[in-house]
Symmetry: C2
């Protein structure tokens, strides 16, 4: 099951020795192997190779084209398989540790990210998954208004009755009833000076399987994945793509700041 290297070459126009050279030099593509060592390519691998060919034709270097093909694009996201930001991020970045934490810790991390935004005076693009619309309304009237006003754009996912652009400019997106995203708590923040993502999936026991990161690449992936979900659920409101996060390289410092705030808040109870 899977295409041979000759089949892939025929389908993509990339020669057999070139495919092998790419794999040796860049680790891409990475097909399955038969016990004998023969390569077998999956369909998504072929799609990514075609994406590389397209980017090369647009003057991209091979290295850059492969780097782009590795990360999700709106066309690549499958809303069935990647039905939540958490699931999609987990699949694409298996290296990220997943931790099981309580609601208090989720809230502490969310607030810590919000404080980081405020502290840096950034105007980020925000995507927030709130589970229930009621929770969003509470947060909005409470702490949230300040953050959203500062944001360049804001998308909120919850069990709204219907999707719409609210009067304050917030894109309110209705999660389809029964969708896995009903159980997701997530916050994606893409700014110039800051980047952070927190995504948690509520288990039956009320705790969350969660992952978080302040790395620009991962945050940006989360943003693409989230907007692809929005485009799937509310095609008429299709959000514009967000410019790549710029000038963010002090991930370690920001990461420690965010987790530090969260720890302080939790230890304060």
């Amino acid at each position: 099951v899977g295409l041979t290297i000759t089949g892939v070459a025929a389908r993509t126009g990339v020669s057999v020795p070139t495919l092998r050279a790419w794999e040796q030099r860049f680790g891409f593509p990475r097909p399955d192997r038969l016990p004998s060592g023969h390569r077998r390519y999956g369909d998504d691998e072929v799609a990514r190779i075609q994406a590389v060919v397209r980017e090369r034709a647009a003057g991209r270097s091979l290295e850059a084209a492969i780097e782009l093909a590795r990360r999700p694009s709106p066309d690549t996201v499958d809303p069935e398989r990647d039905a939540t930001i958490f699931a999609a991020l987990r699949r694409r970045h298996p290296e990220l540790p997943v931790r099981v934490i309580g609601r208090a810790a989720m809230l502490a991390l969310s607030l810590a990210i919000e404080e980081e935004i405020a502290a840096l005076g950034d105007r980020p693009h925000l995507v927030v998954a709130f589970q229930r619309a009621e929770l969003y309304r509470q947060a909005r009237d409470d702490r949230w208004r300040g953050i959203a006003r500062r944001a360049e754009s804001t998308i909120v996912l919850a069990d709204f009755a219907r999707s719409r652009v609210a009067a304050d400019g917030v894109l309110e997106v209705a999660i389809p009833p029964g969708a896995p995203a009903e159980r997701e708590w997530a916050l994606v923040c893409e700014g110039r000076r800051s980047a952070a993502v927190l995504a948690g999936w509520e288990r039956a026991d009320g705790r969350f399987e969660a992952l978080w990161s302040v790395e620009p690449d991962i945050t940006s992936d989360a943003g693409v994945l989230a907007r692809a979900l929005v485009a799937h659920w509310a095609p008429k409101l299709a959000p514009s793509p967000v410019p790549p996060v710029a000038d963010v390289d002090d991930a370690l410092r920001r990461g420690m700041a965010v987790t530090g705030r969260a720890i302080a808040r939790l230890g304060d109870r």
Copy 2:
């Protein structure tokens, strides 16, 4: 007036010999020259060089980066200077011939482009400048509805009372009173299988200075310029960027088809 090559090198991080090599090999940048031959660079040239540096950092080849920098981007458009699609296109593509034609010829060309869309069964992105809202309403109830229903997206510029997303999905953009665009008649059509632009500026005598093209590059430039104007006038409705026109290389055939239809229509009176 203008920066010396050393000044540009300091501002962009591109070395002096490299700047000269780019100019020799690609004709970019193309600074003014003193009578002695010394180069003097303008501000927009510096901006374009910085755009090239950015694209190179994103893995683009020098040739591709320069090609991108040559064409307008939403950030590059100055809505004061490029206050109409006609003016902007004329400035960026001085090689395009400008012809003075009457209202009947404008209409014939517009209809010819619309027929070409219909004939190819394309689902294009449309931008149409109608001068007066009344004219749009007439056209809409007449021939226009079919075209707009087929379009992937439609933006209409006219002297509407205010900008809005109409119930049928058309983005109605109000031209500010007194703006030069009030006198523009334009049609930009970006599809997969077809591309065409017609832009005319009404003179005091009621005739139009007009230019048109079926080349994908020029059409795409016109689309970017038009959407930049829309984003300037109606920032809250900021239209999404349109994917590049794909697979359109039979410009000669389509060009002859369009002008042929127009000629036939005019000769039929």
